[in-house]
């Protein structure tokens, strides 16, 4: 319990005493939001999941490879 408390304090004090780090964390969080909640959700669907029937992916790709 003491160890967990010390680890908690370590991170808590570290985050609290950040100066430049605050700006960097803000940039990281905005970036992650854009990547995962904007780009991934709205612009980067899994093409095969969307177009092939479930369990039929191999047949779907095999047709794409047809001569």
């Amino acid at each position: 319990m003491n160890t967990i408390h010390r680890i908690w304090n370590f991170y808590y004090d570290g985050f609290r005493s950040m100066t430049l780090g605050r700006t960097l964390w803000a940039v990281i969080l905005v970036k992650l939001f854009i990547i995962f909640f904007v780009l991934k959700l709205f612009f980067f669907p899994n093409y095969i999941k969307e177009h092939a029937e479930k369990g039929n992916e191999a047949e779907f790709v095999s047709q794409k490879l047809a001569p």
Partner: protein
């Protein structure tokens, strides 16, 4: 029906451009992380050994710059994985089993190792012991380097597919030997060469920033010591990169001879081949490699290409036309011509369809085994089955040729810079040298990206070497969809870069707390 005919070629171009844009921007952040990791590690080791406050503050300053770069670059590579699933779905499906393992390991290592030790490195001053802090600093760098290893393993497999077998039931390449994939000669060479190039970039950055302080006559002791350390580190890295560069060229000659021929604009090969220093190649048009034997105005070092490619001054190096027409290797084995490869590829593609049809219809085992045997023997040339003419398998020579010279020329420039920085030059010339060092920071990025261009343009048209060309690997999407995300990325990454440069400049202007 030929499904591939439905794919608009501009979709392939946009998907390639988008991947290139993402990778180029991602690579703007990565090398400085790898390079500064060693520099700050050495500086903190000095602090650990001497207990000097000077080295502590010096290490802290470079760690701050490392942190800015790390924060800006983190997660930018994930976008490449999104692009696989959306734009490159056929490719992604075909290689999923092989790509998944190294990328998953990279994710786990990156997350746990780097995030744990980065936190100790930044939050742990005066809270953990000096030894534990030093270990965390080195382990942060090691974590980043190990991450690079797994990414480069994935990339190397595309350049030299080994350790897998194609399963016609699942239409996927499946890993048969993790060791073969992780330790393929291409992966080892690529890792060593890439990491060393990142060290050189880190050294140029340290030398350039230190030079700025000296030009401004600020933090002179800090700048002088950082400058010398950066130059020594850069010189050692440069010496090592020359060795790894030679070995990489040898491996490329064995595994991707067309890439080497394009890098050298070698149209007709042979023994005793010279290494071209420069030649008059039009940067905006593919040269006529079919009708001419060599580019005009060629200035070359005798025998050097043969030595680079074969470790023998008189070794045989095939040119573009030799590779297209087929040639006999020095060990007597015959490399098939393009026409023969196309035939083998077409047979494998047809056999794949016939195999699947036979399985569905429950045809005899003998027929199925016969198709399987054709697939297996033709699989190394599977991609050639989609090739229609000779020009399709020749990379764009001007980019490969000039990017290679920018990479090597830049590397030589940096060696000269490091030597001059360490030389006892005083007075006016010293000031000029510091300006040159400052100017070399953006040059180092250009040189680093040029290396990436050589590696990636040189393997065109293959997404998987010889097995899958780009126009078969892409999804059947409209070009406009990819164009929109291309522009979104351009805005996102340019903003990130502008923010990074701005924060970096402010931090540098502020200087170390000495």
């Amino acid at each position: 029906m030929n499904q591939l005919l439905n794919i608009d070629m501009t979709m392939v171009d946009w998907a390639r451009a988008q991947f290139a844009l993402t990778a180029i921007y991602h690579w703007l952040f990565v090398p400085l992380t790898l390079g500064l990791a060693v520099v700050m590690g050495i500086m903190e080791t000095q602090y650990y050994r001497t207990g000097s406050e000077f080295w502590k503050q010096t290490a802290k300053f470079w760690q701050r710059l490392f942190g800015i770069n790390f924060a800006m670059g983190v997660a930018t590579g994930i976008i490449l994985e999104f692009e696989f699933g959306t734009n490159w779905s056929n490719y992604s499906y075909l290689v999923g089993d092989i790509f998944g393992a190294p990328l998953a390991i990279e994710g786990i290592v990156a997350f746990f190792m780097e995030s744990t030790f980065v936190a100790v490195m930044f939050f742990g001053w005066n809270k953990v012991s000096k030894g534990f802090h030093l270990a965390s600093t080195w382990l942060t760098g090691l974590g980043a380097t190990i991450s690079a290893w797994w990414i480069l393993v994935a990339n190397s497999w595309m350049q030299h597919p080994v350790g897998q077998t194609f399963n016609p039931e699942t239409v996927r390449n499946e890993m048969t030997s993790f060791a073969d994939v992780a330790l393929s000669p291409v992966a080892v060479d690529k890792f060593v060469h890439t990491v060393l190039s990142a060290w050189v970039l880190g050294a140029v950055f340290v030398v350039g920033v230190s030079s700025w302080y000296l030009l401004k006559k600020r933090h002179t002791e800090f700048a002088t010591k950082s400058l010398r350390l950066g130059a020594v580190f850069g010189l050692i890295s440069s010496a090592l990169i020359m060795l790894s560069g030679h070995h990489s060229a040898y491996t490329v000659a064995q595994t991707q001879p067309m890439k080497l021929a394009a890098m050298e604009a070698l149209y007709k090969g042979g023994t005793d081949q010279p290494l071209t220093i420069i030649a008059g190649i039009n940067p905006f048009a593919q040269p006529d490699y079919e009708a001419t034997d060599e580019p005009p105005l060629k200035l070359a070092v005798p025998y050097a290409l043969s030595f680079l490619a074969t470790n023998d001054m008189n070794g045989y190096v095939p040119g573009i036309r030799d590779i297209l027409d087929g040639y006999t290797k020095p060990d007597g084995t015959i490399e098939p011509s393009l026409d023969e490869k196309i035939q083998l590829g077409q047979q494998a593609i047809t056999a794949l369809q016939d195999y699947r049809k036979a399985k569905k219809e429950g045809t005899s085992e003998e027929t199925i085994n016969c198709q399987l045997s054709i697939i297996n023997s033709g699989m190394p040339y599977f991609g050639y089955g989609y090739v229609k003419d000779r020009a399709q398998v020749v990379p764009y020579i001007p980019v490969c040729f000039y990017a290679f010279r920018v990479m090597v020329g830049g590397g030589c420039l940096f060696i000269l810079l490091f030597i001059l920085i360490l030389a006892p030059i005083r007075g006016r010339w010293r000031g000029t040298l510091h300006w040159v060092a400052l100017f070399c920071i953006p040059v180092a990025y250009i040189v680093s990206e040029a290396g990436w261009l050589v590696a990636e343009f040189g393997r065109q048209p293959w997404t998987i070497q010889d097995m899958l060309p780009t126009w078969v690997g892409v999804s059947e999407l409209g070009a406009s969809a990819v164009m929109i995300t291309f522009l979104l990325f351009l805005i996102l990454f340019t903003t990130l870069l502008a923010v990074e440069i701005s924060i970096m400049c402010k931090t540098i202007k502020k200087g170390p707390e000495l």
